[in-house]
Symmetry: C2
Subunit: 365 residues, 2 copies
């Protein structure tokens, strides 16, 4: 193992950036005071950071997937503007004793996700710059750059009454995955406190890995590092009146479109049924099938159990689905599903009932 | 006092960004998934982060100057490419219990420095995006964007034998200021351990504030938040063959030009005399005038005392001076001084003697 402190910053950077491939648009790449890149159209820029123990924990997330997660949340924001990614700047703070191999795994994760976005969207997405600092906590701060044609940017403010509301990708999976991960930790602690063999929790625990039972694994994987459906965006871009990356929850992010556009967003629960179905394995895992006396404070009725999953769908963040509004005259493109409609008014409703504000904020409220 | 945790992230951001003024080139400002800006020429981008207890300490640095420091180090990198700043993205991680007034002071510091750069360079430098996260440690991660005409970017690799080496701004002040700050802390501790009145250290200590004795104050100010001479850059840009922002120390950064250009950089100590003179008040403060028995392990001779200051000049970082190489046929423009010449070969020398590698690295070596 080679620790960061044993090599210099510049040696580490050149080793790490050896994995990077400059795009054809890169005139001056990493290694000078700043990068220089050739751009056509307008510049799109966004920044998001991940902080250890706030946004992720090393107990759950390996370095490679931390890289995927950090890149994805930034690239999704660029794409949600109807833009094409152009490059990334990566500022990292990590402990002195970090293994260089871990740092390389983080960078290859970032580059793998950038490359996936690039191949889905027909562009090159190199790392063009960044910084490496020492810190007690891991912080990954990424800026994603993109380009969009003049007048082609998709903001949150263009939704009009009569538009249909469409979703690409999923919502709720990452939130269900988070509850599964908490449950796994609880099971592990329970197993450690019961010195009995064979460990009754171990079978259950082994189902809860990202390579374990597929229905649960994909939910956990969505929490650890969701991979947005970038390719869906250009199929909708020409038609959309507004678009947003769903990072804080469907209700929160759709409300942002409603607020910015001065309209009401009416969700239809029937259109969310498949998304709820998708999460029922997590409900069954967490609460059993309702017949076992061991089942934990389980929602009683089948309806209450679906309600539990619907909460994830409405308020869970981090899946990085995309929501778009568009004139209702055409069916949604491949990869998109209709989930409601825009009407005159304000705020958000589900089947006509007002939905309260929820979703994620770093500082509560 | 209103703490961050009492308001939501979005309320805090809108309050803070109330201080921000969009530039005329901003099509979509902060508040959407990403910013959209109109750009002419090529895009310049760079990212640098400041981490609490690594790059600064709250004991020394107030929030406003933390903002200035964070903005300046990024803006200097953009300018060192011969570019004009275009905008900033600011990702912040701060503790939950941070006072909103402190956060506002940080942002007004960033905006004040961006505005200073803008007025020196005739451009608008708005904050176009960013992120706000919770963290035990303060982390300020900034990306600075800029624009440069096609073919006009100044890299590190264009220096040619025969070029003169020029410096704008200062080097060594921030390093001397750092040693003064450490000395102040030592004096404070000594004063606390000697329960005598009147406190003999208090007089000395009062000289060591950023509003105290001017000769020392400006050194401390350079450490806390150096303010680069942005305006000097365009006066040199048309002539320069290479340019760099001196952030890690004159020897380290000039060596980067030598390495990238495949040349030798020959510094002349006589040309550095004024820079050394500038730091002698700090030597006198730290070591006395050499006549007092109380004087600490002081360099003995006058020559040794100047040598001590020369170390700061050669190896001290964070002043954010600019070094440029240019054909020697013209005297340096206003704000620039000649400090040496480029010759064939490699590495760095002072008056013909090879200089070893030094300067700052986050991870040693």
């Amino acid at each position: 193992m080679t620790r960061l402190s044993e090599l210099g910053e510049s040696h580490v950077l050149s080793r790490i950036l050896g994995h990077n491939r400059d795009g054809a648009h890169v005139i001056v790449g990493p290694g000078d005071d700043a990068a220089v890149t050739a751009l056509s159209g307008n510049l799109v820029s966004t920044a998001d950071m991940l902080v250890e123990n706030e946004d992720f924990t090393r107990d759950w997330l390996d370095w490679h997937r931390l890289g995927i997660k950090a890149a994805a949340q930034n690239l999704a924001d660029v794409c949600a503007m109807g833009a094409v990614p152009h490059g990334l700047l990566v500022s990292l703070a990590v402990p002195d004793d970090t293994d260089i191999a871990d740092l390389e795994a983080l960078f290859t994760g970032i580059l793998a996700e950038a490359s996936r976005a690039g191949s889905e969207l027909g562009c090159e997405v190199p790392i063009v710059g960044g910084d490496l600092s020492s810190s007690g906590l891991i912080v990954v701060a990424i800026t994603a750059l993109g380009t969009v044609g003049p007048g082609a940017a998709l903001t949150r403010s263009g939704a009009r009454p009569g538009d249909a509301i469409h979703l690409a990708g999923t919502v709720g999976r990452a939130a269900a995955g988070l509850d599964l991960l908490f449950a796994r930790d609880e099971l592990r602690e329970r197993a450690l406190s019961e010195i009995t063999a064979p460990d009754p929790a171990s079978t259950v625990r082994s189902r809860l890995t990202d390579t374990g039972e597929p229905e649960l694994a994909r939910l956990i994987a969505a929490q650890l590092a969701a991979q947005p459906d970038y390719a869906a965006v250009p199929r909708m871009a020409g038609r959309a009146s507004a678009m947003i990356d769903v990072s804080d929850g469907l209700s929160t992010d759709l409300r942002r479109i409603a607020d910015a556009s001065g309209v009401h967003a009416a969700l239809e629960s029937a259109a969310l049924d498949e998304l709820v179905d998708d999460l029922m394995p997590a409900v069954r895992f967490l609460f059993g099938d309702g017949t076992d006396a061991e089942d934990r404070a389980a929602p009683g009725s089948a309806a209450a159990r679906r309600e539990f999953a619907l909460e994830w769908v409405l308020n869970g963040g981090e899946d990085h689905g995309f929501v778009a509004t568009a004139a209702p005259d055409l069916p949604p493109p491949v990869g998109w599903r209709r989930i409601g409609e825009v009407t005159a008014g304000s705020g958000l409703s589900l089947d006509g009932d007002d939905l309260p504000t929820s979703g994620f904020s770093h500082f509560g409220k």
